[in-house]
């Protein structure tokens, strides 16, 4: 009853958010000064105005904006993201083929940063004031201030150029076509290490700081004192009464960071030539590929909402109070 109601209200919220985002994106993209028809024409080495006019006609670029807008919204509803003139492919296909790598990257980074953040944050919080705490806090402070793309480059410098442990760029080995699935998975995993660590590191720093503060706060809470008064061992108190309680706010915050995570993925994908949505975004911005951009922003925003829901779900599992309210 209440669950259904909350689900309905959630879905309405999401639909509304998507509509607004789609509108914002459309307005933004269409206030661009460049003419996409010219680019297409330029790329085919064409030089005549008639040809350019033809391109405009063919792709509806000569229509008034509201016609383009209405047709765009209609298409969004029917999950048709349009056709990229420049890439000569359906936008949904283009995005779908890039979605996998981006999901792989962001979700691994998300998981890694959460696990690492909770672990290091808990360690620092428990050992408050010791050298371990100091070292972790300092590392977190530094990482937090590090430009993500630079951090990626430094990892490349150390781990691929100097130590040659991991490949510096790309998604899979160029010979991957001949690999067995197992080899392929391992190969992708090897390529994933540096980008995922890069993307995770910054957020891990954030979560570490948060977790540390949260754990210290929880450790002062009355129920921890109760647990002590019950005669529980410190380990049991930590596992049973502190970690879960402290991780809650961290997870909530992580959900809010989903947008930033996707933004970070854009830079990381650029640094590591990761064939995901981020690179596609940048390529499309430079190429003024409107349909792709519109589709990308929609998909990315949905992705962010999805991650939000996911963290919401995790938080529900961790904290029974949320579902019931």
């Amino acid at each position: 009853m209440s669950a259904v109601k909350s689900l309905v209200s959630k879905l309405t919220g999401i639909a509304f958010a998507i509509l607004v985002i789609a509108t914002i994106n459309f307005v933004l993209v269409h206030s661009a000064p460049g003419d996409p028809a010219l680019v297409i024409a330029g790329q085919s080495g064409a030089t005549d105005a008639e040809f350019i006019e033809q391109i405009r006609r063919d792709y509806g670029l000569d229509q008034p904006w509201f016609v383009q807008y209405t047709s765009y919204l209609t298409k969004v509803v029917t999950l048709d993201l349009g056709y990229s003139v420049r890439q000569r492919a359906d936008v949904s296909d283009l995005i779908l083929e890039r979605l996998g790598p981006t999901l792989l990257l962001t979700l691994s980074a998300f998981g890694l940063s959460l696990i690492g953040g909770v672990f290091f944050g808990a360690l620092a919080g428990l050992r408050q004031g010791t050298w371990k705490d100091l070292a972790i806090s300092l590392a977190a402070l530094i990482l937090y201030a590090t430009p993500v793309f630079w951090f990626g480059l430094m990892l490349v410098l150390v781990f691929s150029i100097n130590l040659e442990w991991f490949p510096a760029f790309g998604y899979a080995n160029i010979r991957a076509a001949s690999f067995t699935p197992w080899q392929y998975a391992l190969d992708v995993a090897r390529h994933l290490v540096l980008p995922a660590v890069t993307l995770a590191a910054i957020y891990m720093a954030v979560y570490t700081r948060l977790m540390r503060a949260s754990l210290i706060e929880v450790s002062h809470e009355d129920h921890v004192k109760t647990a002590r008064a019950k005669g529980l061992t410190e380990g049991r108190i930590l596992r049973g009464h502190m970690l879960r309680n402290a991780a809650g706010p961290v997870i909530t915050f992580a959900g809010l960071q989903a947008g930033a995570l996707i933004g970070g993925a854009v830079v990381v994908e650029t640094v590591f030539s990761w064939p995901g949505l981020g690179r596609l975004t940048f390529d499309s911005v430079t190429a003024r590929d409107y349909p792709v951009l519109l589709g990308l922003f929609l998909v990315m925003s949905i992705l962010v909402i999805a991650i939000n829901l996911l963290t919401d779900l995790i938080h529900r599992l961790v904290d029974p109070r949320i579902g019931a309210r």
């Binding site: 985002i21 933004l28 430009p147 630079w150 430094m154 933004g263 940048f282 925003s301």
Partner: protein
């Protein structure tokens, strides 16, 4: 405010942060004195190693002095960091104040708008804005400001709401003070501290966004910036690590400095709010 200053400086974070920040600021202000020649000057020997040919941090592929770039780059980072934060503050604090104090339908409309704005990956939005408006200092400041305001708006709203329900504000209303006077004299002064702290953190974040934009080739091409230098060094990282390393360290130092100052500010400002 001597008490405040004392608390602030007693924190090692505050002292270290302030020193580093002063260093970077001095670098920005005195850049033309330290390196009078343009950082774009291609007079050195390409690919000089750090220390070679009289170049402290080496030279890039065109023979430009990396050290000169690092020093001059401080200007753009600081200017953009501060200006875009002011933009974000202007938008965020205004919306937050209105939402927080007015409440009701206006409040929920602003909250929804802010929530949705926060859902859009903000860096991607910044890329889009800069690309659309064509990269220049002004458009970069505007774009970063436009993507940075939602947290400020949320915080301001939360602060204003929490402060304005506090009993001393109600007491002030009961004393017959006008709404404006209540907001300006009681609500804002008591709400502002965390906003100042977040503002400081926003400067740091703005510097990082600027660097990332420049790295992606969306910087103002007329100003030497750290992100641009790292971007230019990326492809030649095998041949010239120094091209990427030093500008990165500069960003790192500046951002750490600001974050430390922010943290110390937080510690110095907050006890008065919660305990006083």
């Amino acid at each position: 405010m001597p008490q405040f200053l004392k608390t602030f400086l007693r924190r090692p974070a505050g002292a270290v942060g302030l020193t580093l920040l002063a260093l970077v600021t001095a670098m920005a202000i005195f850049a033309p004195l330290i390196y009078p020649a343009s950082p774009w000057e291609m007079s050195g020997i390409p690919f000089s190693q750090p220390g070679e040919n009289g170049m402290l941090m080496g030279a890039d592929t065109l023979g430009r002095d990396i050290a000169a770039g690092v020093v001059h780059g401080a200007r753009i980072s600081i200017v953009i960091g501060i200006a875009s934060t002011l933009t974000a503050l202007l938008i965020g604090v205004t919306l937050g104040c209105v939402a927080g104090y007015a409440g009701g339908a206006l409040d929920s409309a602003i909250v929804r708008f802010t929530e949705i704005f926060q859902t859009i990956p903000n860096f991607v939005l910044a890329i889009l804005l800069v690309a659309i408006l064509t990269p220049s200092i002004a458009t970069i400041i505007l774009a970063i400001g436009l993507v940075s305001w939602p947290p400020l708006a949320r915080l301001t709203r939360a602060q204003v709401r929490s402060v304005s329900t506090r009993e001393f504000v109600q007491a002030a209303r009961c004393q017959g003070q006008s709404t404006l006077s209540v907001v300006v004299r009681h609500v804002l002064p008591n709400a502002i501290s965390p906003i100042i702290v977040l503002g400081a953190m926003t400067v740091a974040a703005a510097i990082l966004i600027e660097a990332a934009l420049s790295f992606m080739g969306l910087g103002d091409p007329n100003y030497m910036s750290w992100g641009y230098m790292i971007g230019a060094g990326r492809t030649v990282i095998r041949q010239a690590w120094w091209m990427s390393v030093f500008p990165g360290l500069a960003i790192l130092t500046t951002v750490i400095a600001i974050n430390l100052v922010g943290e110390a500010l937080n510690d110095a400002l907050n006890p008065r709010i919660s305990r006083a």
